[in-house]
Symmetry: C2
């Protein structure tokens, strides 16, 4: 009988933000796979380092960190081949996913290769979205309000349309787009209620009014724009 | 020294989907508050029943379940008064929140009463959004895609504008709006890729193509509409 591919959301950074189900799954793992830099550094792996059984077999998926590029098919094909060997031998393979596996996660590149062919299970994780809302204490949505998630790198015309047709936002992966996004929010009268968050739930976490955000924002930073109605000014 | 108000997201239903941090917090609780029906039934309380210390003091916040109505200010005022007594005596008060406290959660009605006046902490939880994506194995967003969350009860003209200006959606709290939403999605060529989910992560969970959704949907059901690019047909 084939093993199962299990995507586990390990949360945004604080190891205590993994779910019990994720923890139990990782503690029983014999093989784990995870995204890593080309030199083998892995944020997802670091989060759960303290929970891993000894002698767990590791499959780092070394992804070049180039923002604009579709992650190399070749890298995922190679990783999939290695994972398949384990599944065929009846072993489960746990894929560690920072945040939630299906929210801007690279897990979907594996998922699309395995769904329908091998048993797949997904254990959700605390996404950066919920983490940033929690640390900045900003409600995301309530009652009959809608809410949109926009990647900062979206083309500008498209981005403007989103701002004009929605009321509350999370702008993801701010990084080098910070100045441009600030300008766009300003033009739409939204800058004042916008909140900048980086490294949510980690010791170096920053929660600031957007006007006080550092000039150089890390790639994984976020801007939350609560709806006008929900915006309450207070210090966190 | 004053106690702290701590909102804890307990996840969508499966007790194993609470975070470790949420669990540790609940296990040390002396006073908990939670939304309940008028007869005292509480979904959030049920989820964590097995984790509660004996003799924990309970503050049910009895909220009339009327969809269209802004929850009674009076009810929250009364609950807040009771909570304040505990905070002033130096005790923390844990507020149990189904899903995530800040994602369509009633916690925000308490939060707005305490923020800036008493210490407040928020521990995020797995939202219904992440849970529904996981059980239906549908990626929410990737790369440069945006994603919108829309409550099914939103006024129809507004709803249409959302559909026309966004590509991927989660439609929340479907309930009695099911037939109308189906029709709207159909008009926008989105019905075929839409997925219906109810009771995610619970034993009676349902994941169905929207075309096969039951005629009478529970209030807390959801329709996921993945973007065209991400839609992959497979059985879950």
């Amino acid at each position: 009988m084939s093993g199962k591919l299990i995507g586990v959301g390990v949360g945004p950074g604080d190891p205590d933000l993994i779910t019990l189900r994720g923890l139990k799954t990782i503690q029983k793992a014999t093989v784990i796979a995870y995204p890593s830099t080309e030199t083998g550094e892995s944020f997802a792996l670091n989060i759960v380092q303290g929970y891993l059984p000894e002698n767990v077999q590791k499959i780092p998926i070394k992804i070049p960190m180039v923002e604009s590029r579709f992650p190399g098919q070749l890298i995922y094909n190679t990783a999939s081949d290695e994972i398949v060997t384990h599944l065929k031998s009846g072993q489960n393979v746990i894929v560690l996913c920072q945040g939630d596996p299906l929210f801007y996660g690279s897990f979907m590149y594996l998922h699309s290769r395995f769904a329908g062919k091998y048993p797949v299970e997904i254990i959700p994780g605390i996404s950066s979205l919920n983490a940033c809302a929690a640390v900045s204490q900003r409600p995301l949505c309530s009652r009959l309000e809608s809410f949109s998630v926009i990647p900062a790198g979206m083309n500008e015309e498209h981005f403007r349309t989103k701002l004009e047709n929605n009321e509350a936002f999370a702008i993801m992966k701010v990084g080098r787009h910070l100045a441009r996004i600030k300008h766009l929010l300003n033009q739409n009268g939204m800058e004042e209620r916008a909140v900048y968050v980086s490294h949510a739930t980690l010791p170096n976490q920053k929660v600031l009014p957007l006007s006080k955000a550092p000039e150089s924002a890390p790639y994984f930073s976020m801007i939350l724009v609560p709806s006008k109605d929900e915006y309450v000014q207070f210090d966190t």
